[in-house]
């Protein structure tokens, strides 16, 4: 059974901030929800409460960056770019301030529905010049996200997992380096964030059915080394399947499409994720199943790519990890 790590961000941020006095902790009224409440209480001189006022918070963070600080701005991902998009552009991205936007509740990891689910954040951030995008997929990546983000000479948007997070990897994020999780030759599966755990479950069943899977996990989405990815695309026989906790427009599916089209690779690409659709509020397992973001959706995608049916059922997949919506590890139901 996979190891579950409780609130990895809380400890990782504290450790990083205490070792780096120019790191500041900013919050917009979601302090406990972003696991920085203990930091606020224990290190108030390094903590700035900016209230439910994200437009000001982003420009203010830009000003802190101008003064030489490296603010970590904490909120739910949606609140860091939807309302304050202009401030993100003018005060942070254009001048390349070293502002670290720590976006919690990526995609459908919240039952908060449309207003809380950052389903197009990667597409938005990918189109912003100077922006770096990181995404965490397990507890080890959450534990190393602060150091990774803070190593960037410019602004960074990070998708951060919170609460009880599985440990899938044992080495920290190396910015720009994808994780090669399997090196098979039939189909290339590319995942990031929470979809990697789904792919790990699907892989077991696919391999049992005789499919040779090549599986890559992305924690750095921008900038991106197309050459390394092309090598992998060229190394498989049939084509590529992407699975993302995001709309299929502008995220990693689009990233693969661009890389393949730019290089004239004539292989099929199946992009799985939210298909030009909003989601609604519900539990994570329910939403992943309902919107086709889970292991079974990936199996069906590979079948479609290969033009075969393997007769894989839910029972063949490793047992899905079911999380209670309300748990002691989270500050509230969101």
């Amino acid at each position: 059974m996979v190891e579950m790590v409780n609130r990895p961000y809380e400890r990782a941020f504290e450790k990083h901030a205490l070792a780096n006095p120019d790191v500041l902790c900013l919050s917009a009224d979601l302090t406990s929800s972003c696991e920085i409440d203990k930091f606020r209480d224990q290190h108030p001189d390094q903590f700035l409460s900016l209230g439910m006022a994200e437009q000001n918070m982003l420009s203010f963070a830009g000003g802190l960056g101008l003064a030489g600080y490296r603010p970590f701005v904490h909120s739910f991902g949606v609140f860091l770019y939807r309302r304050p998009y202009d401030q993100l552009m003018a005060s942070i991205a254009y001048p390349r301030r070293k502002v670290r936007l720590m976006g919690f509740l990526p995609g459908i990891t919240t039952p908060g529905g449309m207003t809380h689910q950052a389903i197009e954040d990667i597409a938005v951030m990918r189109s912003i010049p100077n922006m770096t995008i990181l995404e965490t997929g397990d507890a080890t990546e959450v534990e190393s996200i602060c150091e990774a983000a803070d190593s960037i000479d410019g602004p960074v948007y990070s998708r951060v997992l919170r609460g009880s997070v599985p440990r899938l990897f044992h080495t920290p994020i190396v910015v720009g380096q994808m994780r090669e999780l399997a090196l098979g030759e039939d189909v290339l599966i590319v995942t990031s964030g929470i979809t990697t755990e789904e792919a790990l479950r699907a892989r077991t069943a696919l391999e049992a059915a005789g499919v040779s899977v090549r599986h890559l996990h992305l924690n750095t989405i921008k900038p991106f080394d197309a050459a390394a990815m092309l090598d992998h695309v060229q190394s498989v026989r049939a084509g590529v399947v992407t699975l993302e906790n995001h709309v299929t427009e502008g995220g990693i599916g689009s990233l693969l499409a661009e890389i393949m089209a730019d290089a004239g690779v004539g292989k099929r690409l199946i992009r799985l994720g939210l298909k030009d659709s909003y989601a609604h509020g519900g539990s994570r397992p329910y939403l992943m199943k309902y919107y086709g973001l889970d292991a079974m959706a990936l199996v069906r995608g590979v079948e479609r790519l290969l033009g075969a049916e393997f007769g894989i059922s839910e029972a063949d997949l490793s047992a899905a990890r079911i999380e209670a919506v309300h748990s002691a590890a989270k500050a509230e139901g969101l």
Binding site: L50, A67, D153
Partner: protein, 311 residues
């Protein structure tokens, strides 16, 4: 901060007059410009640059360099235009021009106080120039982008908070426009600055009651700006924005733990009464005919006491 010894050789009145004359000349020659902003802002910017701000000597060439690219990882030599205000040292003040549309007036001010050569204004809005129409980060005297209105005070609040933490003694100033109070961000910023006790943050706001569409009251009424600032936790002082002594006194208003915002009541025709004929469309004055251009040239030159512009 009223050290008369910090003023340059010219009086602040002369600088203000010089700003109006330069913007007038530029606008007549280019058949349009931000004329009314020079009318309302001349005394405020002259006062800031000529006496109130504690700035070091310029660090950038008197004749601005051409546009040298936007900030990016592949443009390591990029720098802003802040060097025209001197170096960013702890003891010096910093100034943001929040309404970047006042750039023409701000450039004219830099020339009048000897921080930029007159040739700089010739580059205004020319392709390939850094002296842009809407002041950009890389434009002379600018340090951040403020072309979207309402973000300047927030950025200055963050900078001021950071400078206080570093132990800087210099103040952070924002030149604001009254239209910005229609933006919600302005009120978020005042509340945040007050909550965090940022009293090294100062602003002077040009309350000329004009915006792009016309008179502010016809676009969206904003009520009593001072009352609102006070309610949001700032300290506000009304002054006549053409009365230098009033500004000199207002900046001494005690504001412990709160930002100080001087509200400068101004006239958008001050010094150029002929402009009133264009009311209420004063945001950018482009002459509608050669006759209007010639009439304005004659009448404004007469009121400024200078010869008409040859164009």
């Amino acid at each position: 901060m009223l050290d008369s010894d910090r003023r340059n050789a010219r009086s602040t009145e002369e600088v203000a007059h010089g700003i109006r004359c330069r913007v007038f000349e530029h606008s007549i020659r280019n058949n349009g410009g931000y004329l009314s902003q020079a009318c309302s802002a001349a005394e405020q910017l002259a006062w800031l640059y000529n006496e109130e701000l504690n700035l070091g000597a310029p660090t950038l060439p008197m004749i601005p360099k051409p546009f040298a690219g936007v900030p990016s990882a592949t443009n390591p030599d990029y720098h802003t235009g802040a060097g025209y205000n001197g170096p960013a040292e702890p003891q010096f003040d910093r100034l943001f021009i929040a309404p970047a549309h006042y750039a023409l007036v701000a450039y004219a001010t830099l020339i009048e106080v000897g921080r930029m050569a007159p040739e700089g204004l010739e580059m205004f809005n020319q392709d390939g120039s850094s002296v842009e129409m809407i002041g950009a980060e890389h434009s002379p005297g600018m340090e951040v982008h403020n072309g979207t209105l309402g973000i300047g005070f927030s950025t200055a609040a963050g900078l001021a908070w950071g400078r206080r933490r570093r132990g800087d003694t210099g103040r952070t100033w924002v030149y604001m426009s009254d239209g910005e109070v229609q933006e919600g961000q302005t009120w978020e910023a005042i509340a945040a600055a007050s909550h965090h006790g940022i009293d090294s943050l100062h602003a002077i706001m040009d309350v000329n009651r004009q915006q792009c569409d016309g008179a502010m009251d016809s676009v969206m009424e904003v009520g009593d700006i001072a009352e609102k600032i006070t309610a949001f936790g700032g300290v506000a002082v009304w002054v006549d924005g053409h009365d230098l002594d009033a500004m000199r006194a207002a900046v001494r208003t005690p504001h412990p733990g709160k930002p100080l915002i001087i509200l400068a009541n101004t006239s958008p025709f001050r010094g150029m009464p002929a402009l009133e004929a264009r009311f209420p469309r004063l945001h950018y004055v482009r002459f509608k005919s050669e006759k209007e251009r010639a009439d304005m040239n004659r009448d404004i030159a007469a009121s400024l006491g200078v010869p008409p512009v040859t164009y």
